[in-house]
Amino acid sequence: MIEGDASPLSLLTLLALLGALAYAAAAGSAVLHARAVGTAPVAAVSAPARESARLLVQRRRTVPGADALLWRLGGALLPVAAALAALVVPLGSTAVSDLSVGVVWFNAMEVLAWCAVWLLGWGANSVWGLVGGYRFLIQGLSYELPHMFALITAALGAGSLRVGDIVAAQEDVWFAVLMPAAFAVYLVSALAMAFWGPFDAPVGRDAAGGAAAEPSGADRLVLLAGRYMLLAVVAAMAVPLFLGGGAGPLLPGWAWSLVKTLAVLGALVWTGHRVPTVRMDRFTEVGWMVLLPLSLLQALVVSVLVLVR
């Protein structure tokens, strides 16, 4: 399965980077929150660390009637899915594993998040968790098809499912320019996948935290970390798919990859604070009636372009 010889980007480096990006996302979110609240934004940079300290000390809960196995599995699955999806994301020109079907691998791993959130909600034996879990499933059914078509469109433009080839195909023009609708759909579905921002209904405060209502202590820490890791991964994947990967003047490839990833991540985090939650009964219709035809049309346009070229 792992093709070619050992990549210069080791698994440990990747995980460390992913962790750092996830922390940056959490800290950025805390800073935006502090700005809204009117407290010092600088102090907020340490907020995720202090929250981690709190959760490390907090005891784990056991809930009567809970399916503890599935419940804990759900929380643990989230960071695992994010880390597995990150395997094919290149830093500059090297990924831990540049699979020949990298795009499909990425898609398969991020779909594990569906299982994770649903298990979290169902396993906890709480009405809030259940509602949150099902909100996420309905969200998934609304964003996943447009998301897949956005991924396929990028692969189509390069004529390959290998992420490295997709980056190489953007030498002249970034896919974000060539296929803006696919890029937009990708960003929207990225938010939905990490249940962030306007798509945070699955963990919404109106449902007392939804799928995240019941876990405490280490379980909660893993869940939150996994969510930020997922957000970081989908942001990082936007770079090779649509933003030319590590291409850029002066700086080395890996630096450009990081800079672009941080920019996308920042935009996602900011959007999450800027826009109120989109209710699922409203978004489902938008997903199927607007995003899906839009992404199909975009795929058609790109296929014609590829044929003509």
Partner: protein
């Protein structure tokens, strides 16, 4: 060597989690045991260097099981599948069917004259697969696709009790449909 170990682990895992489907007493656990079994079955495809098919099986099985979960909740609203329930119906009959099926398939392994490999695997099996499907069998595949799609649409249309006359009125003149929950586009 490593391949043999991975294959053995997956084979045992697939059978064990497949058996677990009928041992566990909750619908949620059965669903995820089944999913685990499918995932174990997908890994040997990766070992055969059919990475596209292998990863696709993982992707589709996860989504499929989650859709199944949607239906599960439609019929039982208990969080955590509180009520323990047996996952076995008609024990004797199903055991017999399972045993016979297993015997036939296992016999096939030994009886079928497996072809020897000729030549080397193609550089890009994904492309080969696409050409095999979409080249000579293009018409068949397109037809199958259309039939599947038509079946899905038809079954949804047949199963929904509300039609356009309920939504838009007897003369279809309502500008906004009368739905229990309005959608996001107001149509």
């Amino acid at each position: 060597m490593a391949e043999t170990v991975v294959f053995a682990v997956c084979a045992v895992g697939a059978v064990a989690s497949g058996a677990a489907v009928f041992v566990v007493d909750s619908m949620a656990r059965a669903t995820f045991a089944l999913l685990a079994s499918f995932l174990f079955a997908a890994v040997p495809l990766l070992l055969l260097e059919l990475s596209y098919l292998g990863v696709l099986v993982i992707l589709m099985m996860v989504m499929e099981m989650m859709v199944m979960v949607v239906f599960m909740i439609m019929y039982m609203m208990n969080p955590a599948g509180l009520m323990p329930m047996s996952m076995v119906h008609n024990k004797a009959g199903s055991l017999a069917v399972a045993a016979v099926t297993f015997a036939v398939l296992a016999a096939g392994v030994f009886l079928v004259p497996w072809p020897a490999r000729e030549g080397s695997p193609p550089a890009d099996p994904t492309r080969q697969l696409a050409e095999a499907i979409m080249g000579p069998h293009m018409l068949v595949m397109m037809l199958v696709g259309m039939v599947l799609f038509a079946t899905m649409v038809a079954s949804v249309v047949l199963s929904t009790p509300r039609g356009r006359y309920d939504r838009y009125g007897d003369d279809l003149k309502r500008t906004r449909p009368d739905d229990p929950i309005g959608g996001g586009l107001g149509r």
